[in-house]
Each structure stands twice: as structure tokens, then as C-alpha cells.
């Protein structure tokens, strides 16, 4: 029946249209608010745009300068990599530890889960960064506690270049909630009978953790590691608020994104900052690709 076939083809076409119709709000947003600026930033990265006057084409000059003649780029890279390499593993270990503890069938699990998740909800906010500044200041809460408890005179943690970055690492680790929730879900997926069998064979809990829990959790660990690494590379708010946008003292908290921001908005180098942004994209992409390549050697998918 050719007529019926045509009608159904029309219906399919109509469905397609409706589908695109529903997609439209997102698609418009993506094209205008994401893809447009991304393309523009690539163009700007090849110019000397100052934000105030019209851009002039300079080719790859921005990129060559970043690669060969920018001491603060190296500082920003060092600070950012230190931050990523410290905060991500610490956060994951902490999140996993709490998840395992909560998974032991604690009463009031949902209450504790909510409490532990709380810092992640509010942790990225300006208010918490301000609070952090109060806690770790020279006369802040931490030093008052150290003084009362141990009679120890602590330094001004945030004003001292040798400790300031670690306060930011701590702030990041404290926001372990979302990783913890994902770990909890992952732990629930591991069949109980495996543990029972292991117990019967005489495996102690620690051995069970390393031989059963960890291997079966590797897909979740991998997922968390990738997400948190990308997040850590993009960290901005905490350093911006705690150092008042300077990345100080002595550039010790100069996150890559903060450096990028300074170049654009305080040093009038939007073109140069765009080039920095593209380099960050490449770094994150490379890191993610490396993670996926390495995954085949240590991530055990259940198939």
C-alpha cells in the first residue's frame, strides 16, 4: 500500500521536525552562547585585541610568546599542576574512604550522606572562599585553635607563599561530596555474594577491599578521576577570592584560569588570554586522552 508508506514517511518526517523543534532552545543556546564565543576566541587568539580598541591580526605571535617568553605562564602551569596532582588524588581517596564507611550500613545513612555532600553544594561559592580566608588568616580560627590547644603560633596560612596553595588544596578536598555520592552508588553495584564467598574463603576485610572492592570499582574511580581532573584544571573562584584576584602572595596561588583572567581583564590582553584559553583546552584534552589510553590497563569493565 504505497499510500500508507508515504503517510508513515510523512509521520517520521514530522517526528523529526518535532524532535528538532524540541532541541531548538538548547541548539540555539549552543550555537550562540557556546560555539560562537568559542570560534570568536580562536580568532581573537590570533590578534592583539585589547578589549578597548579593535583587534589586529598577529598570527601565531601570542602562542610563540607563551611558549618562549612568559615566566608567569610557567608559574601558572606549576601552580595549576601542583594543585591538580595534589587535590584530585586526595579528594578521591577521601571520598572513597567516606563512601566505604557510609556503605557499612550505618544508621541514618541518608542524613550523613546529605551532611557530607553539603560542602560540595556550597564549596564552590564565594561565601565559602571568604570563610576560608577567615579560617586560615594569621589571626584566624585555625591559629586560634592551635594556640589554645597546643600553644602553637601558626603563620598566616593564606598570606604565606609556602602554605597558601595548600589551603586551596584543602578547600578542594573538602568538596569531596559529589565524588562520594558516585562512589556510594558504585559500591552498591558490587554483588554481595562475592564478599560472602571471599569471607568463606577466609579473606579479611582489608584484603577484600583491595581484591574485590577496588578492582570492581575501577570504572567509577576512572569516571571520578576524569571529571575531577577537568574541574581542578578549571579551578578559579577559590584562588580569586582568597587572593583578591592577585594570585598572590608571590603568585603562589596563580591558577592558570586566574592568570588568564588577569591577562584579559586587568592587563588588557584579550587576544593573549584567548591563546592561553586554547592552550588550556589542549592540556585538558591531552590529559583526558591520556586517561582513556591508560584506562585499558587498569579499569575493569564488567563485561
Amino acid at each position: 500500500m504505497p499510500n500508507a508508506a508515504a503517510a508513515s514517511a510523512r509521520a517520521v518526517q514530522g517526528d523529526d521536525l518535532a524532535g528538532y523543534g524540541f532541541l531548538l532552545p538548547w541548539l540555539l543556546g549552543f550555537l550562540l552562547l557556546t560555539l560562537g564565543p568559542v570560534a570568536a576566541s580562536f580568532y581573537l587568539s590570533l590578534t592583539d585585541y585589547s578589549g578597548l580598541s579593535a583587534p589586529n591580526w598577529v598570527g601565531i605571535e601570542n602562542y610563540t610568546r607563551i611558549a618562549t617568553d612568559d615566566p608567569r605562564f610557567i608559574t601558572a602551569m606549576t601552580v595549576t599542576f601542583t594543585f591538580v596532582l595534589l587535590s584530585v588524588p586526595l579528594k578521591l581517596i577521601f571520598a572513597l574512604g567516606v563512601a566505604v564507611a557510609l556503605n557499612k550500613g550505618l544508621t541514618g545513612l541518608s542524613f550523613f550522606r546529605a551532611v557530607f555532600y553539603l560542602p560540595s553544594l556550597i564549596g564552590g561559592s564565594v561565601a565559602i572562599a571568604v570563610l576560608w580566608r577567615q579560617v586560615f588568616a594569621g589571626d584566624g580560627l585555625l591559629n586560634q585553635a592551635l594556640h589554645t590547644l597546643f600553644g602553637y603560633e601558626g603563620p598566616s596560612w593564606i598570606a604565606n607563599p609556602s602554605t597558601s596553595l595548600y589551603t586551596l588544596v584543602l578547600l578542594a578536598v573538602w568538596q569531596f561530596g559529589s565524588s562520594m555520592i558516585i562512589f556510594l552508588a558504585g559500591l552498591r553495584q558490587i554483588p554481595q555474594d562475592i564478599y560472602e564467598a571471599a569471607s568463606i574463603d577466609g579473606a579479611q576485610p582489608v584484603r577484600q577491599f583491595f581484591k574485590i572492592t577496588l578492582p570492581l570499582l575501577t570504572p567509577v574511580i576512572f569516571f571520578n578521576a576524569v571529571i575531577q581532573t577537568i574541574d581542578a584544571f578549571k579551578a578559579f573562584t577559590s584562588a580569586f577570592v582568597i587572593s583578591d584576584g592577585t594570585g598572590g602572595p608571590i603568585d603562589s596561588t596563580l591558577f592558570y584560569t586566574l592568570y588568564l583572567y588577569q591577562e584579559a581583564f586587568t592587563n588588557f590582553r584579550f587576544g593573549y588570554a584567548s591563546a592561553l584559553a586554547w592552550i588550556l583546552v589542549l592540556i585538558i584534552a591531552a590529559f583526558t586522552a591520556l586517561s582513556f589510553l591508560s584506562a585499558r590497563y587498569w579499569v575493569h569493565y564488567d563485561d
Partner: protein
Amino acid sequence: MLSRRDTLRGGLALGATTLAPAAGFNALAAETVMRLYWWGTPTRTERTLGAARLFEAANAGVKINGEVGGADYWSKLTTMIAGGNAPDIYQLEPGRFPDYSRRGATRPLDEYLGKIIRTDRLAPGVLALGTLDGKVTGMPLSLNAFALLYHAEVFKEAGIAPPTAKTNWDQFAKLCVDLTKAMGKKNVWAVGNCSRYMQTFQSWLLQRGKLIFTPEGRPGFDAKDGAEWFAYWDALAKAGGCANAEVQALDKANVDSNQMARGNAVMTLSYSNLLAAYQAVAKAPLDITSLPIQSESTPSGLFYRPGLHWSIASTAKSPELAARFIDFFINDVEAGKVLGVERGAPVNLDVMAAIAPTIDPLERKVLDYLKAIEGRVVPYPPPYPLGTSEFDERSFRSIADKVAFGQLSPTKAGEQLLADALRIIKP
């Protein structure tokens, strides 16, 4: 079922409702809205808005929307200009003024001078303070000068005479060490570590007959000058006369984060007009005197400088109205009474005379100070070249931090400072 006609009818109804507010907008559009952007303390906001209300009252159909920035003032301003929605009038200060004017963000005021903006009663030399490359691109709003602000009572309690206009840098250092000892308080020093204030370094250089930047935009100092500057403060810090590394590292060269305002010092080197702002956060009365000197026979390093500028955005839609506002702001006596000396001494002599009887004792101290240094001021130094704010924030303060934390010797710091200036400053 919806018919085509229903749809049409609905469409018309919707169209009609969207038309209604449009008519309302047209009525509003008869009112000219002008955006005014500045930074400062709540007192400044109150006074600035007060003057804006007076202007509105005198100009029917004009509405002025004030916007106040904080620590993010400059990045917000840059973003607004880059995004094509710059405020019509915005506040600049001498350090940043060339950064914006030379990049074409401000509209020259020359065509309005003497016509819309009356200049006949301005104090001599005022316009020169807003002139850049031959054009007046910012109207100075006030005059101020560098000064030393201090807690008067602390000196009385300690039995130590406060610094005067004749105190030299060596005497000042000794005084700081003695006073800190006499106070004997934890984390309180006589003075903040001021090695991070580029503007004070400029005065230090002027005292030696040098400029921080030449009119051609090159560094006017050498590595040795920088080394001596950092060595002075390093020695003072080591002798216990000025604040330690961690305290000074948090100083962002504004009132909020200033070492004296935070209670870590009882003296600071700052601007005369900020006496009121510091007094507002101080628990005891403050007093004002001039910077320490080299010797009585060498230049004082003090000069009258524009406290702040109003500049008109190059994109402002009604620049003539903006010019009228600036005229009102600096020349109107009633506006002057509302504004007081919060931004510094008024630039209009009539306004100055009119408000003189009305000001409070604190403001009186500021005016007396400006009067007292009259015979000693040096000419206004050349405007800062492009990149000065970057040099100040990214190099100067960072080097001061490195010296304070012992990561850099003063000698190396001087070399680094000169190298940075040559790299960052664009002549």
C-alpha cells in the same frame, strides 16, 4: 480544536499586550538615563548620589544611575567597555588614567571646555592634571597629595614625638623601631611595610631629583635606586619597625586591606584625602603630616595630584549632557557642599571658599595640610606610560613580597624591578 482563526485572534491579543508596555517604554524614553560609575567608601557613594540628585532636580527629564564598584572595579570597567556598554561617565585615577585614555576609551573634553564645562574659576594648573598627549581626557575632581597618616594618641602614650615635616627617613626608621618597642603589642608595628607602594617609591625618587618614568615612557630610575628602596624597608622590617612579610602581603594598596586599617600598624603612607576613610575605620583620632624627607635642602617629593578624574566614555550617547554633569559636579557650589572634601580639596576656588566654613575638623586638617605643603611641592610628574598598572600590581608588589619573605635580596630586587619596567612598560 484550535482553528486558524483562533490562532490569529490569540496572536493579535498577544500582540496587543506586547504593544502596551512598548508604549510605556516610549514615555520613559523621554527621560535621558545616564550611567555613572565609581568606586569608594559608602560615604563617597552617599555624597556622589547626593550631587547626582541635585543635578536631576536642576535638569528635568534626566536620570542618573549610579553604579559603585569595589575591588573588581577595573576588571568590571574593562569588561563593560569591551562589551560595548561602558558607563557614560566613569571615575579614573592618575595611575590608571593613561591606560584607558590612550586606548581610546575616553572622549576628549576639549570641545566642551569653556563652553559647557566652565574653567574660569578652576585652581591654576588643574586642567594640566587631566591632560594626556595634548588633550584633556579626564576632569580632575579634586586635589590631594601624599601624606603620612598616624594615630595621634599612640605617640602620646608612648611619650614619643610624632613625625613632622622635618623628619628624615633615617629618623623615621629609628622612630618606628622605638615606637614598636614602646607599644609592645603582638602583630602591631609602628608602620606598615610600605615597600609595596609604587606611588611612595615615586615620591622617594622625586626626593632624589629622579622620575619613576620619563616623559618618553622609559624608567627614570636605575637598579641602584630600586635596591636602596627595598633595602630601606627590608632593614626596617628586620629591626622590627615595620610589619612582617605575611601582614604586608595582604595589603592591596586600598583602604580595606591597608596594614594600618587592619590594625597591624599605627602609621601609613597614603593620600591626604583618605584621612576621612581611614578615620572611619579607626578607633582613635588620626592626624596627618608629610612624608619623611631626604634632607631639608632636597626636594620634598610632594606634589598636588588629581584625586580622581571623571572621564566620558567614547561611546557615550549624550556626551554634552555628560559634560554638563561634570561641569555641575565641579563648579556648582551646592553640589560642592554635598561632596565636601571626600575626594580631596575641590578644584573650583569658589566652591573651596564656600565649603571652607562648613567642613568638619577632620576635613579641616586635610585642607590645612594641603596649604602647609604649598611652598614645598614639586611639579606634577609626567603621566604614567601604558602598562604602569600592570607593572605596579604584577611586578612592584610581587618583588616587595619576595624581599619581605627573604626570597630576593634588595640588590637583586632592584635589578629585577628595572628589568620588569623595561619589559612591561610600553613607551
